[in-house]
Every structure is written in structure tokens, then in C-alpha cells.
Amino acid sequence: MTLRRYHAAVWDEPVIHALSVPGRRGQHFESADPPAGAIPRALRRAAPPELPEMSEPDLLRHYLRLSQQTMGMMGVSLFGTCTMKYNPRLGERLATEPEIAGLHPAQHPDTIQGLLAIVHGFDTILRGLSGMNRFVFQAAGGADAAYTHVCLTRAYHAARGEGDRRTQIITSLQSHPCNPATAATGGYEVVTLPLGPNGYPTLDALKAAVSDQTAALMINNPDDMGVYNPEIAEWVRVVKSAGGLAFYDHANFNGVMSKIRARDLGFDACMFMLHKTFGVAKGGGGPAVGAYGCSEALAPFLPGPLVVEDGSRYVLVEQPVGGVGKVREYLGNLHQVFKAYAWARAMGAEGIAEASDTSVILNNYMEKRLLAIRGVSRSHPDQPGWRLEMTRYSLGQLFEETGVSAVDVQNRMADFGIDAFWLSHEPWIVPQPFTPEAGEMWSREDIDYWIEVLAHVVDEAYRTPEIVKTAPHQQVVRKLSDRNLDDPEVWATTWAAYCRKRNSPGRFTAAAE
């Protein structure tokens, strides 16, 4: 296969403050004269903000150039754990129309019946896929849904008079960092189970950790290595019989959707990420939705209000006191719920099952070809059988033999139009990890191209490692210098800080202007 002669757009586009020309304007507002005292003298702004002064066409072209200097999903992006999939443009487009974009969140329910029908319809779709009894969409991301579960756990045990006793949340070393992090934020002691020989923690380790102090289990399955814990139903029984709640972080739903249902496995609650599994665009990190669903018993604790079907119309029903309350203002990123609803309707049950099949087929196809590349191995090599929608690989051997790291390979692959692969969450359990996820949207040609690029880069690593170590070469800019951004004399999140610090000793040689 001939690799693409790719080169990223290079515009040498200065930061916007450097483009400012005094007197230029990009937007006018009608002139007005507020009455005296409208803005008390003491509270008037003394000096205008140091914002750039731009005309409209110059501003537009500046940001269009920046967009061209962003790879996004123009190339092939197999960023594992994030389930890169197509964002259908019908939903994206309709969501910009006034009937979604122009809605105020406090409008009377009579004026948003279409929106509420969509929320209810999507709730029903997720109930079917999970077996849960009720979903809410207030959480503005997967981590926020994990936090919702922590808040709900708190409310649930408090209502039973066990709030003071149940102080621990159990998770595993392979869970997403948001699980231990939100548990700690909510005031829980985090118990992290190490992995056993099969790639998941042993049942004995769980049993040793569970006690009458256990508030909840927060766990994903399969994990980010494509390994499914076959004892998960027993795990749930152990936790629940000790009085804890079992929460299923369904970040890795793509490989198992239509194949298992969280409630059937005994879980009390689960979370789906609409910006991953359900086709909603990532936006470089949101706006996102963590759809949180739970059993009937937990529903009174959900953040409210709830959308309820009442005859031929939909109403908002306040939740009883003593539950979560709110994790974010209003009902959530409902324009994203709309897009997810559109995706699910386009797919249907059969399409969803097909997507899960395809993502697992493609991952195993990739695995077969990737493991044939010198220097590439997979985690738990002795664990037999097919992985699900992801496999955790290691470039440890390549690194030992050539000094080329996974990050170097990531940078070099970008020279051929391949978006960064995912490495691994902390802590790394294999050296030099990488985790591609094929998903269902990429064609076999895309997957083959990705594999060929990796093979080419590995070949370079053995023949001419300097090319890889100094990559990228075909990108917008080369890699970051090793200057320490954690140094207060160096870091600058704003133009003002940059201007103040740029003449500090050891500061920048580059001029952002």
C-alpha cells in the first residue's frame, strides 16, 4: 500500500492579539444612553479590556485557518475508549435550527412538547438497551454521570440512616479515573482493586474489600483492554448483599450493546456517553452527555425534574426532597440528546447490534494484523480468546530495541494523517501502551491504512529511529520542546500573562506575534 503524501496545513497564524489593529470593528450594537446612575461610578470599568480589534472577514479567516490546522476526524482517528464514530449531519444540522437552538431552558412545558417527547423517547430507547427504569441527562459528560452516581449513593445511604457508616467506594485499577476521582470528591474513601492474572480483579479481592462500610461499586466492563469480567454478575451480588450499590460505567458499551443489559446483570445504575456510543460529535471535549439510568428503587433519588408522559402530553415533575438535587443547571445538554435520539432511530435495534458486531470484528481483525508487526504485543498475552472492541497493546519491545516510545510513534503516525491513538489511563500496566478502537464507522480500507502506517513507522524505528524520535515532520508544527510548563515563570494561559513573562530569563525564544 502506498501511504498518502499528506502534509498538514501550515498558515503560521499568529495568536489573535497580534493581529489586532486599533480602530477595527467586527460587530456593532445600537448606540444607547442609559440614565444617570444606571452604572454607579464606583463600578464602572476604568480601562477597556485588552481584546483584539478585528474586522469580520479577517476574524473569520483567522478561525478558518485555525480549523485547517486541526486534524479532527479528517484523517483516521481510532482513539480508544472514546469510540470515534460518525456524527450524522442530519442531527447536527437540525440542532442548529431555532426549534432546538433557540429554546430557553425555563420555557413552559407547553411550549417544548417536541423537546420533551425527544427526551422521553430517548429515555425509552436507553431503558430498552439497559433494562433500567429511568434515565436522566443532566450530567454534562461521562465523568459528571459518575459524579451523579456518587451524589445518589450519598443520598441513598443517608435516607437509610447509613450515611455515616458507608464510607467506601470500590473500583478497579482499570476503571476510568473519573470513578475514583468523583468518589473522592464526594467524600468517599476509594478502594482500588488490583488486576488479577486474567486481566480483571479476582472475586476474592472484591470479597476481601467488601464490608458494611461499602457504599458502592463503580466499575466498567469490558475494561479498556477489551477484557470482559465473566464474574461480574457475582460481583454485583456480593456488593448488593453487603448493602452497597452497583454502578456500571458503560464507557465501553460499543462492543456489548445489544449483547448484555446492565440491569439484567443486577446493576442498580449505569451510565452511557452520548458523545461516544450514540454518535454525538466530540467537539474537542464537549458539550457532552452522561446519560444516567437506574432502577425503580433509586429513581426517587435522581436529579430532577423528571420528564413524565401524562396522557397525550409531557410534563416536568419535581423530585422529592432528599435526593441528588442538581449536578448541573436545568435538564442537560438536550441538543445532544436530540442528536443521540436521531442516531438511535437511524440505527434501530438491528443497526445497533450490527455496530457492536462490526466493532468487535474489526478490533480482532486489527489485532491479528497488528500482532504480526515486530515490536508489538498485547496485554495479558496468555489470556486466550478474542478481545471485545478494544485491545491494549504494548510497544515495550520496540522501545527496548530502538528507544522509540509510544508517543514518538503517535507523533510520527500523525505525519501520515493518522490522528493520535490513545495510550492508556494512569497507571500504565504495560510499558509504552497504545489502545486503538476500530468502532463501526471506519471502513476496512481505513483500518488497513492505519495498520500500514503503524507498520511503516515501526520499520522506520528499526532502520532510522531518529526520524520517529524527532517526529512529527509533516504537521502544523513540530513537537513541544521540553521546557517545563509547570514552572510558574514559564506557564501562561493568557496573553497578558505571556506578555508579562516573555522576557523572564529562560522564557520563550519564539514570538507568538
Binding site: M54, M347, W386
Partner: protein
């Protein structure tokens, strides 16, 4: 006649022959063996209860449009709803920029291959910092309430104290979010929230504040403008009281006011939070919300940020680039030992807000703030002349007006219903959240409202209350 199964438009490998070829590479006839890790009794074999597929875009589009047609958006009515999510003009170029596939689709990338997006983020923090007069700004969080919650937790860590003071009359949605963030399963680490009395425009009672402020207080949180529209004329005093007791002064601001209102940095606030929604982001039923956290650029504050922090940096050959600083303190870097947590947030809106701020520039923000101030006061004065209506605060307010219907003897729900029938959304009902006001609503005016809109609102109210 049986039809062959069609490839789904979103799935290139779902053409039956292509799928079979991939399976053949694995030596399989069908996908079932690939799921062998899952015990048979875990497998779901029933019906998923899904509605019928609409894989034809023509059909799906018709279905979706029929649902959307049942919405009557604020932007197509005459709406005075605000309260933290506001109707502002969204410039057309902002729509184009946030709709670019390159900004819409990326997940993470590398500093080299997603340089443009990282630069747009940096221009966002830079410009927001300029509006706030603060030099350290994090990447956005979910909302204003979430930003305030994180900031209060930062203050608790900074001071080692567990009590915060907030205005008694703040947005109930925001207050509920803060309550979640301050709660804890460990009662020793819970943060106690104490309310400080306010005037009817939401401004803090400085005497009450001084009395409540003691050396156990981690933070004083106030808003400028307040939820009920009042400009916090005592901002300097609030900050001074916080200083006196060693508490952090945290202010929540609406950035669209900052072309005319003194910025947090000017009156010495330690941490500023707020919303980015007014900066060119559509309301989207709340989907346009986004929050920010900013402070002075001091290591003491930087060390407590839960957000990702995007710094300007340089490449090995001296070109400008951008990189994350203090990543180790995030939950990605340190799991439960990190500062609260981070994750997917509202980063696309940072790109939109960046374009919006640059489009307005210093003069645009001044014009915008002046216009909103003028319209707010015009509306307050006009509504106060409606028989049966009382407007307790008619000066030094911004965007929001407390409209008290109590003298009319009518409930907000009744009046709202009658206004709705006239195509007017009059405001947020405060009668349940602040019952001591009686029957009051919070009505919002921005630059999108013309004088005739205000007149139409007042006339409609006169008719309804007659």
C-alpha cells in the same frame, strides 16, 4: 420477494459481502464466537424494545421535524426569560466557526496536529482573562454552578476551612448545584453553606455579611450582577471583609457586562467564575451552558485548579505551540488524589466564545454593555408604570428585573399563561423559590430587545392585569 440486507449508510463494512470477508480473515462464519468471553447466562436474547429503524434520511428528517415543530422557541416568541441562560444575538460567523468539521469532531489529538484548536482555546482563555482582568484562566467546566462549586472547594482547600457564605437570593438552580459540590459522605469534609441576607435586587447586606464573616469562613461568594439583576455596588467592601477574615473572595460574573462594569481583578476578587453562554452560544434548552474559573496568576491558586490548563508553549524549533500545564494535579494524572475531577466539558463552546470575544473587541463589549444597561432601565421604568405591578429596584440593575405582581392580586402562573397566549414569555416565576416576594417574576432584557418589544410587553401586562 426477499431483499438482500442493505449496508447501513453509517457503517461501510456492513455490506454483507464485506462483513463476510472480514469474518473470513478471522476464520469465522459469523460474529458470535467473538463474544465468547461473555458467559451465556449474561447474554440478552430478547427484544431490545427499540422503535422501528428510520435508516432512510428522508423519513428520519420528516419524523424529527415533526417533533421539532411542536416547540415554540423563545427566539421566535417575545421572550423575557433569563436567569443565567440568556437570549443574545449570535453572530453568523460564530455559527460557521463552531460548525467547522475540524472543530466539531476532534477528540484529543496531539499538540502538533490539533494546534489550531489548542490555539483557539488559548485565545479563549486569553480574551476571557482580559475581560476579567485576571491572568490565569482554566479551560471551561460544565456550567456557572459547577464552576462556583469547584471554586468553593478550591477555597476550602486553600484555607483549610469548611464554611462558605453565599447570597440568600441566588439562582436556585445554581444554588442546588453548589449544594451538591459542597456535600460530602464524610461529614468532616463537608462544606457548610450559609446564606447572607440580600436586598430585593440580590445585593448582599454588608452589615449582615460582616457579622457572618469570621475566621472559620473559607470563602465569600457573591455575584455581580446579582441573580436578581442588582449591580454589586459594595464589591470592594465584600472583598475587604473577606480579606479581613482570611477568606477567599469569589465572584460570579456575567461576561457580557464586563465592557462597562468593573472586572473582578479591579476590585480584588481572588477567584472569578461565571458562564460562557452569553459569549455567542445558543441557549439550546440549556445545552449552551458552560462555565469558567479564573484567578490571579499565582502558584497558590494554580495548584488548586481542577480544570485542564492550556499554556502557550514552544516547539523544539522555537515555533509557538500550546501544551497542558500542571496536568499531574488533574484526575487524569492522579485519579482520586487529583483536584476534584475533570473530563469532557464544553470545549467546543470555548472556540465559539473565543470568536465572539474577538469579534466584539473592547468597543463592542462597551457598546453591548451600554445598550443592555439602557434597555434594562428603560424596561424597569416602563413596567413600573403598569397598574398592579411593582418594580422594587429600578436603578443600578443589569439584564434582570424583579417584576412584582403581588399588588395585582394575580399569581405569576395566571399572568404567565395569559402572556403566553399572546406569544410572550414574561419571565421566570419566583413565587415558589422566593415566596417572601409574594408573586414575583424575573424578567430579562438584552440587546435583542427593541424599545417596541418592551412596550409590547408592558401593554400586554396592562391588558392581562386589567
Amino acid at each position: 420477494m426477499s431483499r438482500e440486507r442493505r449496508a447501513h449508510p453509517y457503517m461501510p463494512n456492513s455490506a454483507p459481502a464485506l462483513k463476510a470477508a472480514l469474518l473470513e480473515e478471522l476464520g469465522l462464519q459469523d460474529a458470535e464466537p467473538l463474544f465468547g468471553q461473555i458467559p451465556p447466562d449474561h447474554r440478552f436474547r430478547g427484544h431490545l424494545g427499540q422503535p422501528p429503524a428510520l435508516s432512510s434520511e428522508a423519513q428520519l428528517s420528516r419524523h424529527l421535524r415533526s417533533l421539532l415543530a411542536q416547540n415554540r422557541p423563545a427566539t421566535q416568541a417575545l421572550s423575557f426569560l433569563g436567569g443565567g441562560c440568556w437570549q443574545h444575538h449570535v453572530p453568523a460567523v460564530v455559527d460557521e466557526i463552531v460548525g467547522r468539521a475540524e472543530f466539531m469532531t476532534p477528540v484529543w489529538g496531539t499538540p502538533s496536529s490539533d494546534l489550531g484548536r489548542n490555539q483557539a482555546w488559548w485565545e479563549f482563555t486569553s480574551q476571557l482573562g482580559a475581560l476579567l482582568d485576571l491572568e490565569l484562566v482554566g479551560l471551561p467546566v460544565y456550567s456557572w454552578g459547577c464552576a462556583a462549586g469547584h471554586a468553593l472547594r478550591m477555597a476550602a482547600r486553600l484555607t483549610g476551612r469548611r464554611r462558605v457564605l453565599v447570597p440568600a437570593r441566588m439562582c436556585p438552580e445554581r444554588r442546588a448545584v453548589i449544594a451538591s459540590y459542597c456535600g460530602s459522605a464524610d461529614r468532616h469534609s463537608a462544606i457548610e453553606i450559609a446564606s447572607v441576607a440580600c436586598d430585593p435586587a440580590g445585593r448582599l447586606d454588608l452589615d449582615a455579611l460582616a457579622a457572618a464573616a469570621g475566621t472559620s469562613v473559607a470563602a465569600i461568594y457573591f455575584e455581580n450582577p446579582a441573580y436578581l439583576g442588582g449591580l454589586e455596588t459594595g464589591a470592594l467592601d465584600v472583598v475587604a471583609i473577606a480579606r479581613r477574615v482570611g477568606a477567599e473572595a469569589i465572584v460570579g460574573v456575567d461576561p457580557s457586562s464586563l465592557g462597562v462594569i468593573a472586572p473582578p481583578g479591579a476590585y480584588g476578587a481572588d477567584i472569578a467564575v461565571g458562564t460562557i453562554q452569553p459569549l455567542g452560544i445558543h441557549m439550546a434548552a440549556g445545552g449552551g451552558l458552560g462555565g469558567f474559573i479564573a484567578s490571579r496568576d499565582e502558584p497558590r491558586y494554580a495548584a488548586e485548579y481542577p480544570t485542564l490548563l492550556n499554556s502557550i508553549a514552544e516547539t523544539v524549533d522555537g515555533q509557538t505551540s500550546f501544551g497542558l500545564m500542571l496536568f499531574h494535579q488533574s484526575s487524569y494524572g492522579s485519579r482520586e488524589l487529583g483536584k476534584d475531577w475533570t473530563g469532557n466539558s464544553t470545549y467546543l463552546w470555548a472556540v465559539g466564545a473565543s470568536a465572539y470575544m474577538a469579534l466584539l473587541g473592547p468597543t463592542g463589549f462597551q457598546e453591548l454593555g451600554t445598550l443592555i444597561a439602557a434597555r434594562t432601565h428603560q424596561a424597569a421604568a416602563r413596567l413600573a408604570r403598569v397598574p398592579g405591578v411593582r418594580v422594587p429596584t429600578q436603578t443600578a440593575i443589569f439584564k434582570e428585573i424583579l417584576v412584582d405582581l403581588t399588588p395585582s392580586g394575580r399569581t405569576v402562573a395566571e399572568v404567565d399563561k395569559a402572556l403566553r397566549a399572546r406569544g410572550i414569555y414574561g419571565g421566570i416565576d419566583l413565587s415558589r423559590t422566593f415566596p417572601d416576594f409574594g408573586h414575583a417574576m424575573l424578567s430579562c432584557v438584552t440587546e435583542v430587545h427593541e424599545p417596541e418589544d418592551i412596550e409590547a410587553f408592558a401593554v400586554a401586562l396592562e391588558e392581562v392585569l386589567a
